[in-house]
Amino acid sequence: MKAGNWLEGHPRRGVTVAATDSLSAAAQALLDEPESRDVYVLDEAGRVCGHLGFRRLAGILLAHLRPSHSRRQLIERITPGTVGEYMDERVLCVRPEERISDVFHQHMERRVEDIAVIDDDRRLLGVIRVRDLLRAALAE
């Protein structure tokens, strides 16, 4: 099935924040949408420019609960920055005309659960939730 067709039957608005927002603000935005696991970062023109996953956010904000850190995590723990400094700039996005089966593997490898569907101007049209895909597969 094509991403655009799926979105028509399962319209889901993605969680978005600005690159200048704090990590806490991004976490709060995700918590306000309990079914969402990924936050997309928009630039000033409203285009998708980055991505942060729930696990990554929780890993940074709850670092003090972990008994061991890599050196990279140590530095992250004591130098919190803005969303823009932690987001993945190379966002995996899907165009409406692309088939879900062609992009699913890459998203799973990157631990992305809300697959962003964007238009030619990189504006977010919605997200395909892996949770919805699983629900549909079980119902078949």
Binding site: S24, H64, S68, S70, R71, L74, Y86, E109
Partner: protein
């Protein structure tokens, strides 16, 4: 039979370390080292047909390259700026204090006491003394739920000081063995400049390659392949393998942007494997006769390193106008010495120019690691308590900038 021995060291080391930690409350590294001692060439290793430890050197080179890569990529320039003056000054003070104390006293001893190697021995040992074991300190902070300015300073310092230590150690290796400074200078410049340039280029190339790889497993192949290739090139073209690996990590992080998990997470998962190898290999080199004969040197090294870094970090923190709870306690939290120090010592073993001193250095560093892992934990806990920073996180708060 070496492959058989490596398998035994890894699995039995894991069992020894875990059991020791669980039932006797000793750090896992103690179990790793003891297990390595059992399989030394003149004990069970000899029975397995392994008569030397020369075969460990290529593995140590690659393993230390992995650690240097992780150290090089541990922070972005923006994060280093945000660390602040207190952490930067205390780290420089701690590293300088440990280096100077060990170098000066051991250098004088080498010149005055027969049977102790000379200035080369002192300067290499001093470079090794600058490193710290982050895992031990993080575990203490976690165990005592510590939070506050001292805790933040300690976390920053343990993340940074191995980088300084690796740079100093690389510079020392480049300089040691040269007949004279003017004669050595071109070689030293080449060793450093080539390492930085080739490591930097490797970081850019591998970062570009990793962008195209979505599978975790393939990224690991690219990253480890890069580290091994650099280590091999360093040996063939005579530039510093450690500086090159650090430059590789730094460049990969720089070109990869802030979200560089994919460049480091696969390699970070190998860190414990590397340390099990280091500690068990150190056990293989352990010589009870050397330790007994030079017990006073081991104790002296321990005291000088501890005293130098306590004083140095105190001076550094005071210069940065840090509050008293930091200046008075920061050095106490930095005593544990671990895998990086042992890896550096192992790298010297088998090198002709360190023929006289390598075994002694490995034994001093290994024995003092056992000391610092236990005494260091007590000192860190004392420092954190004195600063009033224990039992501060109850698991509820978000640790954003505390």
């Amino acid at each position: 039979m070496e492959i058989l021995l490596i398998g035994i060291l890894l699995l039995a080391g894991l069992v020894f370390g875990t059991l020791g930690s669980r039932y006797f409350g000793v750090p896992r590294v103690v179990g790793y080292i003891l297990l390595g001692m059992l399989f030394a060439p003149d004990l069970l290793g000899g029975a397995l047909g392994v008569d030397t430890t020369d075969w460990t050197r290529p593995m140590v080179s690659v393993a230390l390259g992995i650690i240097a890569y992780l150290v090089g990529g541990s922070a972005t320039i923006g994060q280093i700026r945000r660390l602040g003056w207190t952490i930067a000054a205390a780290t420089v003070g701690k590293v300088a204090g440990a280096f100077l104390a060990v170098f000066m006293v051991f250098g004088l001893l080498g010149a005055a006491v027969p049977g102790i190697p000379g200035w080369t021995f002192a300067v290499v040992l001093a470079a090794i003394a600058t490193t710290t074991a982050p895992a031990a300190i993080v575990a203490i902070i976690h165990q005592y739920r510590a939070a506050g300015p001292l805790t933040t300073a300690l976390l920053g310092m343990v993340a940074l000081d191995d980088a300084l230590g690796l740079v100093i150690f690389s510079l020392v290796l480049a300089l040691v063995g040269a007949a004279g400074l003017s004669e050595a200078l071109p070689g030293v410049v080449w060793e450093i400049a080539a390492a930085l340039a080739i490591g930097g280029i490797a970081g850019w190339v591998v970062e570009r390659l990793v962008r195209r790889l979505h599978e975790h497993e393939l990224r690991l192949v690219a990253l480890i392949g890069g580290i091994i290739l650099l280590t091999g090139l360093a040996e063939a073209w005579h530039f510093s393998e450690l500086l090159a690996a650090m430059a590789f990590g730094f460049a990969a992080r720089f070109f990869g942007g802030a979200h560089s998990e994919r460049l480091f997470e696969p390699v970070e998962q190998l860190e414990e494997l590397v340390f099990v190898l280091f500690f068990t290999f150190a056990g293989l080199h352990f010589d009870l006769g050397v330790v007994v004969e030079y017990a006073w040197l081991i104790l002296l090294y321990f005291l000088l390193r501890a005293g130098g870094q306590v004083l140095g970090s105190m001076v550094g923190a005071r210069l940065a106008k840090a509050p008293p709870e930091i200046t008075r306690n920061v050095g106490l939290g930095m005593l544990p010495q671990g895998g990086v120090a042992i890896g550096m010592a192992l790298l010297l073993a088998g090198q002709e120019r360190f023929a006289q001193s390598a075994e002694l250095i490995v034994n001093i560093v290994t024995a003092s690691t056992l000391l610092t892992e236990s005494i260091g934990a007590v000192a860190a806990r004392y420092g954190l308590r004195r600063a009033g920073e224990t039992d501060r996180t109850l698991g509820g708060g978000v640790d954003e900038g505390r």
